[in-house]
Amino acid sequence: MTDPQNSPILEARDLHMAFGGLVVFEHLNFTLGRGERHAIIGPNGAGKTTFVGLVTGLLRPTSGDVLFNGRVITHESPQQRVKAGIARTFQINSLFKALNPLASVVIALAQREGRANVSLRSVSREGKLIDEANALLVKFGLADDALTVTETLPYGKQRLLEVALAFALRPQLLLLDEPAAGLSTAQGHELFRQLAVLTADTTVLFIEHDMNLVFRYADRVSVFAAGALVVQDTPDKIRTHPRVREVYLGT
Amino acid sequence: MTTIATVLFNGVAYGMLLFIMSVGLSVTMGMMNFVNLAHASFSMLGGYVLVVVTQQLGLPFLISLPLAFVVAGLVSLVVERTIFRYFYGTDDLTQVLLTLGLIFMSIAIVTYFWGGTYQQIRVPSWLTGQQDVLGLTLERYRMFLVAVGAVLALVLIFGLERTRFGACVRACVDNARVARACGLNTELVFAVTFAIGGGLAGLAGALSANLLGIDPNFPLRYLVYLLIVVSVGGMGTITGTLVAALLLGVADVAGKYYAPEIGGFVIYTITVLVMLWRPHGLMGRRA
């Protein structure tokens, strides 16, 4: 057994993934260190979102393995992986449109605590969950909108809720698929500033196109291109890396 | 040996009827994702056109068939333009309820005009009786059905593969949004396809009147068969619909002949199993 403190939290070994005849990954190897704030960048079609799908179990690789905390999870269901401590947000908001943020967060907390089994006990008696939901909404600046139907919230607030739902699970690993997508530059920075504070103790893997955000908030960066990990390094090195220029500029 | 062949033949004849009846529904469901239960009512309409034309007007049987096609086609075109097109893109259940309501209305309307009893159908003498073919004694009317069904199947498959309009239909089934973006007048394609599909249902209703009988409960009785054919065959495929219709026709006739006490059990069970095994049908695109 390796020491869990020093071993990587997430590993992909020789992942191969194809949709029908379309090969997305061939021999992808990837390592994510515990506590990192790690960005994945790369042109469209590089397989970034597919990679997140493989880690969360919504997609299954053709071959190869995914390891979480040193344990092979390739054949575990998405739900098992969530229980193990992996949470994600989606590139396009995936919310409970007709419910309000409070109910949405309570749903997430009830799942985390295993309190959503068949019962005749009113939600109002789950005091701890409600208090925690309330505190979480305050943290994300959604307290004033807690009882507003989600689909009527402004887009920026919905984006925050998207993150709050994943965050409510208290994950060890948080996967954020373009969290700032659709936000203005100012809003994007605001979101990342909040995230940096909120997720200080969590390993975060995020996909992001805005290089300013990446270089400012990531402490490591991976560059994906055409289904392969091109390079992985610190933001400073990435900025000047010749292969990165090649990937983006095609020279 | 000869009974097996006869049962098989009768099953195929029945299957051809089901094919003509349901092929329009399959294509429009594949194209617009619209669940039109009232398709069965268009069939009934065709049956009553036959009744009016042959019994009340005294015109020949062969004239009533194209008339059934035209009348049912026109009515379905009107219904599509005035009602259905506002419900494209709503959920399955809304469409089911809407068209179920239309079935109820069509049943009441038909009862109002023609009463609730089965209609007497007379077909020309050259289509009655039996004929010896290759040592088998086959009913002439069923032979006629098989011939009509086969010709229509060929025309439809050929038309879809080889004509310009067929290409438009295929594009719309494949992805209506992209087809629209490429400058195709999808509204027109929808409407024409709907009319042809409804017309074919009407034709099938007229053809089936002699064999299945025609009364106001016709839509509810055969709705289930239509849905089975479409969902088992896979929406939007003509060959899938043909295969499923023939399979269902043979299974139903054989089931009723060899094991009358379990009857419909056979086909319903097959349906449930196919749906669990391949939710998009045997030849469904997304299976």
Binding site: L58, P78, Q79, V82, A87, L95, F96, A98, L99, L102, A103, S104, V106, I107, A108, Q111, R112, A116, V118, S119, S122, V123, S124, R125, G127, K128, I130, D131, A133, N134, A146, L147, L165, L169 | M29, V35, L93, L97, L98, L100, G101, L102, I103, M105, I107, A108, I109, Y112, G116, L227, M235, E261, G263, G264, F265, T271, V272, M275, L276, P279
Partner: protein, 334 residues
């Protein structure tokens, strides 16, 4: 994990007030049930009809758990109504004449078969789901039709005996006992359903209705929950079927026909989904209207039911109860 939940530490936060408010009984809710009891005391009231309305309401409410709260449409819900109805019928025919235990057994049987059905359909959706539920309904209907030696075929099951409720209240020809019995059973089951939908499980059902993919990524056991709610809905439908059998001492294949599956769907849609009360309001409107129309034009009344359905779907897709709620909210805001 503690099994005893604690009240919110701060009861004055809007959050805890919100959920407490959801669970609280409203005045109109109490009035609704009082009115149903009150009908019993109205002289010359058509109690057999009102009893039917209550039973249909219960039946539609069971579908609401499935469709309104979990978003699973079923074209074959009458199968469970019929299973409960026939189970109660056989019990009464073969000597088990105590009604309450008979009702419980019938409901449990329907629930078990519902659970098995739920296992079958837990991964299916869309048109395939409609087809599978319809197909299973038709299979059952077909079996009951054909095994006429066992089921009485189209003539239905005759000679069903039911003992007095609690050994005291005999079923009378005016339907007085039948009405109170149906109302009492329905009220108890309504209380269970109400508590269920306001529990964290009920909230999880709503979540899965709104967004199954998100529920997966929250670690929710989606498929198990589908099976569970299917079983519960089936048990409730079975109880409704058993009630109808016991109060009329008769059950026939119409109780599990496709027509009945369609009718209960229509009732729920008219009343409105996801409210529980929509089921009862829908049953009231549908049955009163059906009675009235059938008297007006015995042959063509289905035209008006069809037209009603089309108009509802086109203009009041939400149904009566949610539309009324929206109206009340608008008036209040003014």
């Amino acid at each position: 994990m503690s099994t005893i939940s604690e009240p919110a530490t701060d009861r004055s936060t809007p959050a805890s007030q919100y959920f407490a408010g959801l669970a609280r009984w409203r005045v109109w809710e109490i009035l609704f049930w009082v009115a149903l009891v009150g009908l019993f005391f109205v002289p010359d009231a058509n109690l057999p009809l009102y009893g039917q309305i209550v039973i249909w309401g219960l039946f539609a409410m069971s579908l609401d758990l499935l469709l309104g709260y979990r978003g699973i449409p079923s074209l074959g819900h009458a199968a469970f109504f019929g299973i409960g109805g026939y189970a109660a019928g056989y019990l009464g025919k073969f000597g088990w004449i105590e009604p309450i235990s008979g009702l419980v057994i019938a409901a449990l049987l329907a629930g078990v078969i519902g659970w098995l059905t739920g296992r079958l359909i837990q991964r299916v959706s869309g048109i395939a789901l409609l087809m599978v539920t319809l197909g299973l309904n038709l299979i059952l209907n077909d079996v009951v039709h054909r095994q006429s030696g066992l089921t009485g075929g189209d003539d239905g099951l005759q000679g069903i005996e039911v003992a007095p409720v609690l050994g005291l209240f005999r079923f009378d020809i005016f339907g007085r006992t039948a009405y109170l019995y149906a109302l009492a059973v329905t009220f108890v089951l309504f209380l269970l359903a109400r508590a269920l939908v306001k529990s964290p499980f009920g909230l999880a059902l709503l979540g899965a209705r709104e967004n199954p993919r998100r529920m997966i990524m929250l670690g929710a056991p989606l498929e198990r929950d589908v099976t569970t709610v299917f079983a519960i809905a089936a048990a409730f439908a079975g109880a409704a079927g058993a009630l109808l059998t016991q109060t009329t001492q008769f059950v026939s294949p119409t109780s599990l026909s496709f027509q009945r599956s369609a009718d209960v769907l229509v009732i729920l849609i008219i009343g409105g989904t996801g409210r529980l009360y929509g089921a009862f309001i829908g049953a009231f409107v549908f049955l009163i209207l059906r009675d009235w129309l059938a008297e007006l034009s015995p042959v063509y009344w289905y035209f008006w039911i069809g037209l009603l359905l089309v108009v509802m779907v086109a203009f009041f897709r939400k149904g009566i109860v949610p539309s009324l709620e929206a109206l009340v909210r608008r008036v209040r805001r003014r």
